[in-house]
Subunit: 579 residues, 2 copies
C-alpha cells in the first residue's frame, strides 16, 4: 500500500531555478564537468534505486526488525542484497573525492540522493548515512596511512563506519563520557568502555565495520576538553576480530530495521584521529554534514507522508463536501480531499515539504560553496550561512517530518492506525530524528546562543541580506517577506537587549526562535518559488502548483510566525522551577 | 520503568473545590447518599486497582498483543485475570442505576475512574470502556424483555458490549453502510454484512459479547435516514454460537492489547433497538458519554506522560543549566529539569494535564446535572453546555494527549525511543484517540457548525456567561480571562457574518475554532484554580503548585490562542483544491 516515488520534477525545479546550481557549478573548477543533464541522470538512477529497491523493503524491514544472537546481528531480509545493489550503483562514492575513488559530485546532489534514501527506507539508510560524514572526518584528520587504508574502502562501500559517542550516562552531555584509551608500545591505543545507541554498531552488510570512538586518555582533563577521537575497526589487519562486542540491540519505536547497538570495547585496538584531547574538534568537520542529513530525513518523511496521504485522499470517498472544484458534479460521497479539513492538511503537507526541499538543498549547496567557491570571502560567507542554517535544518525539518506524518496519518482515518498502510511506520520512524545527532533542544541553543548571539548577529544579518535581495527582485510576495524580515529584525534587537539583563532568557526562547526562523525560511522559499515560477507557467502548466502553494503559504501558514513571536515576547516573564 | 500513580490529590481538588461537586450532590435526591468521603474512598480503591493491577500489564500487553486463531481471540497474559478483579471490585456498576444492580454514583466519579483506567492501561480499558454507553443506549431504547435480560449482565460485568458501526467503505460517513437486516417470523432479524475496526469484537474476557450493530432494513431509504440499530449477542439463549465470526484482528500502531476485529454477520440473529430507520437517534443517548470517555483517554495519556517525564527528569543529570533553584549548589551536571527547554516541556505537561482534568470532570458533572438537577431549566442548560463541551473534550484533549506524550518522550532523549521506558507506547497508544469515535475533524464540524452556528450562538453565550461569573468573582487572572472572552465574542461575531457570504468558511476554520475554545477553557480552568487555591495556601503548601501553574499558563501558554485567532482570520482567503 505504502509507496514512494522520488519527486524528480520538484528536485529539478529546486536545482535548476531556485538554486540556479548549474550556473554555480560552471564557475567552479571542481564541478566543471557537472551540468544539469548529468545531475538529472544521477537523480533518475537514484530514483530507480530508492523507489524500486528500498521502498519495497520499508514495511517488511519494520515488521521483521533486526535479530541479535551471541554478538552477531542479522538485518532484515533483503537488506544485504539491497546494500550490494547500492554499492554496485556506486552510491557511496557520489560526493567523495576522485583521488579516493569518488565521483566528486556536489553535496547538493548527495542531498537529493539522501532525501530519496531516507524517504524510501529510513532504517536501511541508517547504515549508509553516516559514511560521508566519517569520510570527511578521516579525510581531514586521520594520519596518511589510515587515510590510504580506509578512505577507498569507505568510498567503495566495502566498509561501513559508525559514530560511537553516547554512553549510558553521557547523552546530550558528551563531557560525561568515561570510555578510556591507553597508549601501546606500537603507537596504537587500547580502548575500554561501553557505548550505547550505536547505529549499525554490528550488522551483516559488510565484513568489516569502522568505529569512530570518543574516549579519554589517562591524563585527560575532565569534561569536553579531555576527549579524543579514535578509529577502531571491527577486524584487525590479519582479519581477526578486534575486542569490540555487540552486547545487544534496542527494541525501538521505529527504524526497526536499523540495528541500534550496545557495544563493549574490551581493550580494543584503535588509532588516534586528530590531536589528543581535541576529539570534538575532529568531529566538527562532519557535524554540518551529519545534521544536514538528519534534516533530510525530516524532509524525506514529509515527502513520503504527502505522497501517500494525497494518493489515499484521491481514492477514498466519504460524505458530501461543502464545495467541489468547478465543473465537478455532485456525487453521493466526494473524494475526501474536497473536504476543507483534509484540504488544509494536504496543502500544508505539500507546501511545507516542498519548501523544506528548497531550504535543505540550499544548505547543501552552501556546503559546496564553502569548499569550492572562487573567492575566499565567498567561501567564508557560505560557511557562515551554512553554520546558521544547519541547526534549523536539523531541528525544524525533523519536527515538521513528525508532525506532517501525523497529519498524513489522520487523512487515512482508522486505516492509518493499522500496519497495513504503513503511514504509522512513517510516524514512528520520523520520531527519532528529533532526538539524535544533537536533540532539537540542543540545536536551538546552538542556533540562538552560538550562531546568533555568539557572533553579534553577523551571520543572521547575512541571511537577512539574502532575503532582502529576494525582496528587491520583486514578485507577488515581496512585500510580505519584507514585513516579516522587519519583524524579525525588531524582535532580534529586543532579544539582544533582554539577554543582557536576563541571561537565561535566550535559553527560554531558543526553541521558538528556531521555529520562527524555520517559518521565515519557508516564506523566503515560497516568495522565491512564486517569483521564479510565474514566468515559467506560460510554457508549462506544472508551475501552477507552485503558485497555488505559495498563495496557500502566505495566507494559511504565515500565522505560525505570529505564535512564535508571541511566545518569544511572553517568555520575558520568569519561568518557575519544578518542585 | 513506566509507572502510573493516580493523581488523587488533584482529583480531590477538582471535585471538592473547582466543581464544588459535594454541594451539588447534596441538592440532588439521586445522590443524597454521596458525599466527599465516600467519593474519595471510591477513588482510592480505583487508584489501587489501576496502579496495582492495570499499570503493570500495560507494557507487557503491548509487547505480547492479541492473538487470533480460527475466529478466537486471546487477550494478553493477565488481562483475563485483571478483568475478573475489575468485575469483583464492582467497577462496571459504578454509574449504573440501582434497579439493575448498579451503584448509582455520579458520572463525574466514573470520569475519574475512567481517567485512571485509560492512563494505566488504555488497551485493557478498550474492552470495558464502551459498557456504560451501551448501558445508557439499551436503558433508553431497548424493549423491556431485552433490558431485563441484558442490563443486569452488563452491570455485573458478566457480558461486555461492542459498537459495530464502521464498514470498509463507511468510516466517517456512516450513511454509506451496507450491512442488512431482515425481519424473521418470530420478530427477530437476521443480520448479514461485514464490520471493521470493532474494538473487543471477540475476546476471552467474558463468555458472551453483546454487539450493537447498525444495519439497513430491506426497504430503508439511502443514507443516514435508513439506518437501524440492532442488538446481536455472540451467544443465543440456548448457549449456542450466533452467526457472528471474527475474521481477523488488526495489527496496529498502538493499543495492541485491544483486539480490533473484523466481524462477519452471516444471518446472525438480532433484535431491533429503538425505532426502525432511527438507529442513529438511538445511539445519540450514548454519544456524549462515549466522546467524553475518549477525551478522558487524552487526559489519561497526558497525566501518564507528565508523571513519567517528571520522574525521569528528576533522576537524569546532563550538563550545567544556565540557572538553578535558589540555594542549590552547582554540580558537574544538573538534573535535566533545571534546563529551560525541559522546564518548559514539563511545566506545559503539568499545566495542560491538570487544566484538562478540571474541564473534563466539568463535562461529566454537567451530564449528571443534565439528568438530576432539580429544575428542568437547569437540566436543559446543563445538557446544552455538555453538548457544547463534548466535541472540545473529545478532540482537544486527544490532540493534547498525543502532543504531550511526544513532549514527554523528548524529555527522555534516546531512552524515550526505546521500548524499555514505554513512554513511546504512551505516544503510540494516544494516537488512536484522535481518530475514532468521530475523528477530531468531525468533532470540529460538530462544534462550530451544529453547536455554535446551528443554535445562533446561544449555547456559546451560556458558556461565556459562566466565564463572566468567574471574572466577576475576581482573582489574579480575572482581567486576562475577561479580555480573552471579549476577543472570542468579537471573533465569533465575525465568523457569523462571514459564514453568510462564504458558506465554506466555517468548515475551513472549524479545527482552529475548536482549539481556540480548548485553550480558552484551560484559561478558565486556571483562572478559577488560582482564585480558589490562593486562600487555601495558608493551610497547605500543596496549593503553591496550583498558583505556579496558573502563572505559567497565563504567561507561557496563552499565546496559543493568538495562533488560533490569526488562523481563523487568515482563513477568510479562499482555499485551493488539490489538482
Amino acid at each position: 500500500m505504502w509507496q514512494y516515488q522520488a519527486p524528480l520534477r520538484d528536485m529539478r525545479f529546486v536545482l535548476e531555478h531556485w538554486l540556479q546550481a548549474p550556473a554555480s557549478w560552471a564557475e567552479s573548477p571542481a564541478f566543471a564537468e557537472v551540468d544539469l543533464p548529468l545531475a538529472l541522470q544521477v537523480l533518475e538512477e537514484a530514483a530507480r534505486f530508492s523507489s524500486g529497491v528500498l521502498a519495497p523493503l520499508n514495511a517488511s524491514g519494520d515488521r521483521q526488525g533486526c535479530r541479535w544472537q551471541a554478538g552477531e546481528v542479522r538485518t532484515p531480509d533483503g537488506f544485504a542484497a539491497a546494500y550490494r545493489t547500492y554499492v554496485e550503483g556506486g552510491w557511496p562514492a557520489l560526493a567523495c573525492a576522485p583521488e579516493h575513488g569518488g565521483q566528486g559530485l556536489p553535496q547538493v546532489l548527495d542531498a537529493a540522493l539522501q532525501e530519496m534514501l531516507y524517504a524510501s527506507n529510513h532504517a536501511f539508510s541508517m547504515y549508509t548515512g553516516i559514511a560521508h560524514g566519517a569520510y570527511l572526518c578521516l579525510q581531514a584528520h586521520a594520519p596518511q596511512a589510515l587515510r590510504e587504508r580506509y578512505l577507498p574502502a569507505i568510498v567503495s562501500g566495502e566498509i561501513l563506519p559508525t559514530m560511537c559517542l553516547t554512553e549510558p550516562q553521557a547523552g546530550s552531555d558528551v563531557g560525561l563520557l568515561r570510555c578510556r584509551a591507553e597508549l601501546q608500545d606500537d603507537g596504537s591505543y587500547h580502548l575500554t568502555g561501553s557505548k550505547l545507541f550505536i547505529s549499525g554498531g554490528e550488522h551483516d552488510l559488510t565484513d568489516d565495520i569502522l568505529h569512530l570512538v570518543l574516549a579519554r586518555l589517562p591524563d585527560a582533563p575532565a569534561g569536553t576538553r579531555g576527549i579524543s577521537l579514535f578509529l577502531v575497526p571491527k577486524r584487525l589487519d590479519d582479519g581477526s576480530r578486534n575486542a569490540v562486542r555487540c552486547d545487544g540491540i534496542e527494541h525501538k519505536m521505529g527504524i526497526r530495521g536499523s540495528a541500534t547497538c550496545s557495544l563493549s570495547f574490551d581493550g580494543a585496538q584503535g588509532w588516534l584521529i586528530g590531536e589528543a584531547n581535541h576529539g570534538l574538534a575532529a568531529l566538527f568537520v562532519m557535524m554540518n554534514s551529519a545534521r544536514l542529513h538528519v534534516g533530510l530525513q525530516g524532509l524525506g518523511h514529509a515527502e513520503a507522508a504527502w505522497q501517500n496521504a494525497a494518493d489515499y485522499a484521491r481514492e477514498r470517498r466519504q460524505m458530501r463536501a461543502p464545495a467541489r472544484p468547478e465543473g465537478v458534479a455532485a456525487a453521493p460521497a466526494d473524494p475526501i480531499h474536497y473536504h476543507p479539513a483534509m484540504r488544509l492538511a494536504l496543502l500544508r503537507l505539500r507546501a511545507v515539504s516542498q519548501g523544506l526541499r528548497a531550504i535543505g538543498y540550499w544548505g547543501a549547496h552552501l556546503l559546496d560553496q564553502a569548499e569550492y567557491a572562487a573567492l575566499e570571502s565567498e567561501r567564508q560567507r557560505a560557511a557562515r550561512l551554512a553554520g546558521l542554517l544547519t541547526p534549523v535544518i536539523k531541528a525544524f525539518f525533523t519536527d515538521q517530518g513528525f508532525h506532517l506524518a501525523s497529519e498524513a496519518l489522520q487523512v487515512f482515518g482508522g486505516y492509518g492506525y493499522t500496519a497495513e498502510y504503513a503511514i504509522e511506520q512513517t510516524l514512528r520512524d520520523s520520531r527519532i530524528a528529533m532526538i539524535y545527532e544533537g536533540s532539537n533542544e540542543i540545536q536551538a541553543n546552538d542556533l540562538l546562543l552560538r550562531k546568533v548571539l555568539g557572533d553579534g548577529g553577523a551571520a543572521l544579518d547575512e541571511l537577512l541580506a539574502v532575503f532582502e535581495q529576494e525582496v528587491a527582485a520583486g514578485g507577488e510576495y515581496a512585500d510580505s517577506l519584507k514585513k516579516l524580515c522587519a519583524n524579525v529584525q525588531g524582535l532580534v534587537k529586543g532579544i539582544f537587549a533582554n539577554a543582557e539583563s536576563d541571561s537565561e532568557y535566550p535559553y527560554r526562547i531558543a526553541g521558538d526562535f528556531l521555529h520562527l526562523l524555520g517559518w521565515v525560511l519557508l516564506a523566503f522559499a515560497w516568495a522565491r518559488s512564486s517569483r521564479l515560477a510565474a514566468p515559467l507557467l506560460v510554457e508549462d502548466p506544472w508551475y501552477q502548483e507552485k503558485l497555488d502553494s505559495a498563495g496557500f503559504f502566505f495566507t494559511y501558514l504565515l500565522p505560525e510566525t505570529e505564535l512564535r513571536i508571541a511566545r518569544i515576547e511572553a517568555a520575558r516573564a520568569p519561568l518557575a522551577f519544578l518542585a
